[in-house]
């Protein structure tokens, strides 16, 4: 939930997950102002879609595709939006999860991540994700990833939100913090017995 300003943790309550229409959740990392601009674009898109009043509504696949086009076209103009986006949702019983980067790289998978998550979280998810996980199992896996990222990513803070989307609707949790572990014996006095050892 952090909005960093260089290496300063300037804003510690930025909400980086938003719901789009009825069927989609969007999460963003990177520049907050660009994310806010993307939300404005999506607002326009959703309103335009609603005005048709034809019973159809944009689903996660469509939102993902739209965002891919936006990001890629901006990249071609050498004026990118500095975000990595995660798009997920459910429409007509079909689940969807995808990612779009600032240069337009995009793909769809059962588990996606941005930034350091690509290096730290995806291996964990590859090992532990399986079809038909329960909500509880999914939360546990996500929290495992979030904790590693909290330890190892300088721009992370101990404040998280987990969002869920099902056919029934959207839930975005209140911000919460995770317990961290520092109790390894080796952490107490790492240079004991060998001053000048690192």
């Amino acid at each position: 939930m952090a909005g960093s300003y260089g290496s300063t943790l300037r804003y510690k309550n930025v909400e980086r997950i938003k719901s789009i229409g009825k069927h989609t959740l969007l999460g963003a990392s990177g520049e907050v102002s660009d994310f806010q601009e993307i939300l404005r674009y999506l607002d326009e898109l959703i309103i335009y879609d609603n005005m048709w009043d034809d019973g159809n509504s944009l689903g996660p696949k469509e939102v993902h595709n739209y965002l891919t086009r936006v990001m890629y076209n901006r990249r071609n103009k050498f004026d990118p939006l500095f975000n990595s986006l995660v798009v997920g949702g459910v429409k007509n019983g079909q689940k969807y999860l995808g990612m779009v980067g600032m240069i337009g790289t995009h793909y769809e998978d059962n588990h996606v991540a941005t930034g350091f998550g690509n290096h730290l979280a995806r291996p964990l998810m590859r090992a532990e994700w399986h079809e038909d996980m329960s909500f509880e199992e999914a939360v546990k896996l996500l929290e495992k990833c979030l904790l590693v990222l909290l330890y190892r990513d300088r721009s992370a803070i101990n404040k998280f939100q987990i969002a869920k989307i099902t056919e029934e609707g959207v839930t975005i949790s209140e911000p919460y913090a995770l317990k961290t572990f520092w109790g390894f014996l080796a952490f107490q006095n790492p240079t004991k017995g060998a001053e000048g050892s690192w």
Binding site: G115, V139, I162, Y176, A177, F184
Partner: protein, 234 residues
Amino acid sequence: MDPDLSAPHSMGTTIIGVTYDGGVVLGADSRTSTGMYVANRASDKITQLTDNVYVCRSGSAADSQILSDYVRYFLNQHTIQLGQPATVKVAANLVRLFSYQNKNMLQTGLIIGGWDKYEGGQIYSVPLGGTVLKQPFTIGGSGSSYLYGFFDQAWKDGMSKDEAEKLVVKAVSLAIARDGASGGVVRTVTINAEGATRNFYSGDSLPLWHEELEPRNSLLDILVSGASPEPMSI
């Protein structure tokens, strides 16, 4: 990840040295980073030079380590030749010598703290260029930017050992809250006539600051306890 290649090379650390009535307290965070990755989340940045003199290291890990090694080596010889413990002033000056003469190649800021029988507890600041300044307290590292106002208000002369240690722990903890390059646990070393004592303060024992929340085991615990089951409306 989108690494910010134009970000300034900042001294990722928070280090503090404070004198009190009878000795000194040195404090530091425990985060060592390479770019945005935390290479070591439990490093020990307070390094021993002699039995009675320790140094807080910030800036380049490599530079501060090699400098400490050299200073420890020569201080050791000096102690043998002198026949008694080296003074804090000598240790600080040795650090200055290396820092100043190699100023074009080194990038490290140090805080020397210790106790000797002639002048009691002393703190010396040796920043980037090799200046030496004796001070009642000093702060260093990238996290120190967030502490100038705090110390202007909170520092007072003639504190007790416990007051000084509490102040140092509070300060490092505040810096960790705002500096991305600082984090982990708070380590302190207190040096006085009795010797040097190490302490370790981990996340759960530190106070919570603005916008920080009480840590939990999992979101599931919160949901199970029946808090806000309805979906959030936008």
